[in-house]
């Protein structure tokens, strides 16, 4: 069980593709101008990561070392193409919005890195779980980023949800008179908000460390007394 916990912790926080490893930044920044876009691409990424990890760990016995990278790329690219086709067929509006960022999942370094570092060495179950967890780590970050940007930028949440669930409405969080802060939706805002999120993570880590230290100290004192 603990191995699953570790994998989740790694994916969601400690080795988080974005906050800790700074990989996969382009889709993160480019399509996070609204929460719906962000989460959709995130879900596509989960799909690709889970599947590719699964596929690679199943096939890992057949892949010679020296051509592992081309084979991995082949597998990932095939899966991405399939996801791309599915988006085109069933979520056409979203497909238009996400544009080249669906095919670009191929070059998303997290996918390849995970495949090489984990899936190629572990059983299918673990590998799939790892892929999904890494993907979830990506989704929550990109989703949060999207939410923050959308909120600051136009005072709403979930705008564009009708592209997925026709008929659903965006949530107007701030009053209509909120003038919006356009910069948050534009590229500079993406960088800035992500910078703040990374700083926030640093702060949380720092606080956790401090607490751990204090606890240790308290324990030592207790032991000493």
């Amino acid at each position: 069980m603990s191995i699953y916990r570790e994998i989740s912790h790694n994916g969601l926080w400690k080795q988080n593709a974005i906050l800790a490893q700074l990989l996969g930044l382009c889709p993160l920044l480019a399509v996070s101008s609204t929460m719906v876009n962000a989460v959709s691409l995130g879900l596509a990424t989960i799909l690709v990561m889970g599947l590719s990890n699964f596929a690679v760990s199943l096939l890992r016995g057949f892949i010679p070392y020296e051509i592992r990278i081309p084979v991995f790329i082949l597998i990932i690219a095939a899966l991405v193409t399939i996801v791309d086709l599915l988006f085109n067929a069933f979520l056409h509006d979203l497909y238009l919005v996400l544009g080249i960022f669906i095919p670009l999942i191929v070059t998303n370094c997290i996918v390849l890195a995970r495949v090489e570092a984990f899936a190629a060495k572990n059983s299918a179950g673990l590998a799939t779980f790892d892929g999904v967890m890494m993907g979830v780590g990506f989704v929550w970050v990109i989703g949060l980023l999207g939410a923050i940007r959308e909120f600051i930028g136009q005072g709403t949440l979930l705008s564009g949800i009708d592209m997925i669930f026709p008929g659903m409405q965006a949530i107007q969080v701030l009053p209509e008179s909120y003038p919006g802060f356009l910069i948050a939706i534009l590229p500079p805002g993406a960088f800035l908000v992500l910078g703040l999120m990374i700083a926030g993570r640093n702060w949380l880590e720092y606080r956790a460390n401090e607490r751990a230290k204090a606890r240790l100290l308290a324990q030592q004192q207790a032991a000493g007394a």
């Binding site: 020296e66 051509i67 084979v71 085109n88 056409h92």
Partner: protein
């Protein structure tokens, strides 16, 4: 890593060939399998994708011309338009002819306003057979978000009656040609303060397109479906 790697200075040619043959075969196998997978996926999704595309097109046309206004297969009843300076178009496009009960009902076509604030503004218009503009919509634009982008009803804060709706149903008789201008220039159409340029561009392009449609309507309706329209008149 590789265990028995031969010294790089003198690679045993046979070894290299054998290894490369083996890897090539493996790669080939993977390629075949995954290409097959993709091809299958493509074949499965193709009908759906085509349907979606049609649907998207239909929806776009629906923005300017309600489905009730015609009963023909609009998408099939199209002619090729060559690049047309009057419409501001540099590429060939398609023009659709709506007919009701076999009678011409409307022309649906694209146009462009070249002088938007930050570049070209793409438009789609429907011009009724009676010379009225059914509606116009912006298909693509790069106007300043939050300022000039109100020309796109999705971005217009006034959702109830978006700015661009004011063109619907107008013709040159209720609004004479010299009045197809924004109010700031002494015309009949509103503009948003501080973003006249976008409004002016759309207004002018719309008026030009309407003009063009009126002039060519008869010839256009007459053409067989799928034919290429030549503006021989000029």
């Amino acid at each position: 890593m590789q265990d028995a790697a031969p010294s790089p200075a003198t690679p045993p040619a046979g070894g290299a060939l054998r290894v490369s043959a083996r890897t090539a075969l493996i790669l080939l196998a993977f390629t075949l399998v995954f290409t097959g997978l993709m091809a299958t996926a493509y074949n499965i999704t193709r009908p759906q994708i085509e349907a979606t595309m049609l649907e998207a097109k239909r929806r776009l046309i629906g923005e300017v011309l309600p489905a009730a206004a015609y009963d023909n297969d609009l998408l099939a009843d199209a002619v090729e338009l060559p690049p047309s300076p009057a419409l501001g178009l540099a590429e060939p496009t398609r023009l659709y002819r709506a007919r009701k009960d076999g009678q011409p009902a409307a022309l649906v076509f694209e146009a462009a306003a070249p002088d938007g604030y930050s570049g070209q503004i793409g438009l789609i218009l429907a011009v009724q057979a009676d010379g009225r503009l059914a509606a116009v919509r912006v298909t693509s634009h790069r106007e300043t978000p939050g300022l000039g982008d109100y020309i796109d009803p999705k971005k217009d804060k006034n959702k109830a009656s978006p700015w661009i709706a004011q063109f619907a149903g107008r013709n040159f008789s209720d609004t004479p040609r010299e009045k197809w201008k924004v109010k700031k220039d002494g015309g009949a159409f509103d503009q948003h303060v501080g973003a006249t340029i976008s409004a002016r561009a759309v207004t002018k392009a719309t008026s030009r397109a309407l003009d063009w449609a009126l002039a060519h309507a008869d010839a256009l309706y007459a053409l067989p479906a799928g034919a290429r329209y030549e503006e021989s008149t000029k």
